[in-house]
Symmetry: none
Subunit: 186 residues, 4 copies
DNA sequence: AATGAATGAGTGTTCATTCAT
DNA sequence: CATGAATGAACACTCATTCAT
């Protein structure tokens, strides 16, 4: 079975995400990305219109990944357990440093083109968490507020972990928010 | 008083911070920075060893700014009021988008050289907040944990505000944390 | 009658001539040419060995076109009338800007390969005009000299018209040469 | 005495003219031009905004060269002698192949930018020749018509010489036009 | 026979950095 | 001390060409 075009596009996007997190999107050259994906460098422009288009693809893939991962969290029992599953996933991510999405989105937000909706992944995340709270009986507005607080805490923790090069903030914030989630009363 | 060398260095650093937030450090050229500072472009290398050295200066200046601003917050009555002053400052910052420090630090962290301690500003911030909690009677460890939670929340809110292009997350998280701070019991 | 291979080759060559005149042969990509001919881009290399080979085909087609057009001029009464028909044709060509052959040949002459005989069309033109003069009784050498003078004038006029973006030079030179042809004495 | 900026710009322009004639402007890379001028390749963009700007400089330099050369022809006795001096100069140019200006201008005319007035040199040439005829007593209009015919002939001859790779057309047309100039009656 | 997909070599352009003055 | 001029190394992007089907 041949590797098809979409396979290469996906591998390039994945490599671009990896590099964007590790060394920054701007500092990652098209050649870097191609090499990391194991794809000939001239081919990148067969799959993407421009480097800006790669940025768009990253933003899209990040949002898609949130949706895909949330399906896993959904497997847990009730809403409280699902939210706890999300929190646990963040603790385990990137060697305890939490989500990469915040750092990448902050950089992509400045990319030139009509490009990406850099906030798509975060929006999806908040929407998913809000749905759990609605299932618990909260009004749409209250659910969204609680969801935002939850994501804000975990994203802030990932930021602190990255900047301080220390996974402690993640562990502590995760523990705090798990208690907060467990104690949820409608 | 004549403009001395350190004056130009400071103006260049300030301009670099502005540009790093607005368009990214990588996308800002040395010429951009010099122009924004109103300094001849060739002169940058008289004041800095390299662009990486500018990154270091940014990190240092950001940490210094935290110290300088905290002096203002210290003017408030007791520890609880000082922490509230910090929170209020974040709400007002950058047109409601909160602190720029997180976004800049996340990018600087990847700068090549031995360069900057990208986390210096956050470390200073946490240290300042921890000092307030210690003054309230918390043990060093407990104070640091509470400080970390506070900064994590505000930095997470700034991240969400930036990425979602919406100042609501800041306002909500600020209100939440002000209540949390006000309710502090030793 | 089905479109056969030679039909596509001809359409590609015609499109290449059009583009070579309008924007230059070098600036015209293989994809441009294929698109202009309404032919799949990958197919160009089925009909041509290389881009250089396209250049050869252009030179050949241009020479063939001279031969084909001269058949029309030959329909006029005597040699003087035929030469006048050639001149009139130049005045009407390309919206009054005269022949495209000179501009194209000047560019092709520099094409890398053993490629084309860029001068083929001009050679054919001079040969045809010389034949008219021979028919009027001039020696081979004298006929060739007169033919060269005639073509030189019309090609110079086309060059001036193109460069000055003005059709006046064509009209004036045509009028001048028609008088010169009409006044021919053996 | 240091080589100043304008010196390098001039050398680059001269090299660009040489290469544009020899192999075409499009086929000449910035690196080619820099190498031919003996200038570091990165420096071209210190002296020119873009490759298109080089095209503009060529057109300007070609027009300037016409003005400079015409000063030499002006040294001859009367108007008829000056025009003859122009013709003689064409016969001697480029190893008997005549002026390079036509071939270059035909290519530059297609350059993208606001770029050059590709016809500037030809306009200057016609204007100079017209001035000679006016000095002989022709009306402005008649002088311009004669000037145009003269330049048209010589430029056409250069085109034929280049395309046929034969200097004969130049020699013949020059002889013809010198007689025509000598026989000028007001 | 015919072509869409894929790519490597090369192009114009940018920019951090150097250095003569 | 300070800087404008100059540049080499690198980058995003293009395109003639190949080739599996």
């Amino acid at each position: 079975m041949p590797r098809n075009a979409s396979d290469k596009r996906d591998r390039l996007t994945a490599a671009a995400i990896e590099l964007a997190y590790a060394q920054g999107f701007d500092r990652s050259t098209i050649a870097d990305i191609a090499a990391a994906a194991g794809v000939p460098s001239g081919s990148v422009y067969y799959h993407f219109r421009s480097k800006d288009d790669v940025a768009s693809a990253i933003a899209g893939a990040l949002a898609d990944a949130v949706v895909a991962e949330s399906a896993g969290w959904d497997a847990a029992g009730g809403p409280r357990e699902r939210l706890a599953a999300y929190i646990d996933a963040q603790v385990g991510a990137e060697g305890g440093r939490g989500s990469r999405v915040g750092a990448i989105a902050l950089e992509l937000r400045r990319q030139a083109g009509e490009a990406a909706e850099a906030g798509a992944a975060h929006r999806a995340l908040v929407a998913w968490a809000a749905a759990q709270y609605e299932e618990l009986g909260f009004s749409a507005e209250a659910a969204e507020a609680r969801a935002m607080h939850l994501i804000t805490g975990m994203e802030g923790a990932a930021l602190m972990a990255a900047v301080l090069e220390d996974s402690t903030p993640i562990e502590r914030e995760a523990a705090h928010l798990k208690r907060w989630v467990a104690a949820t009363k409608v």
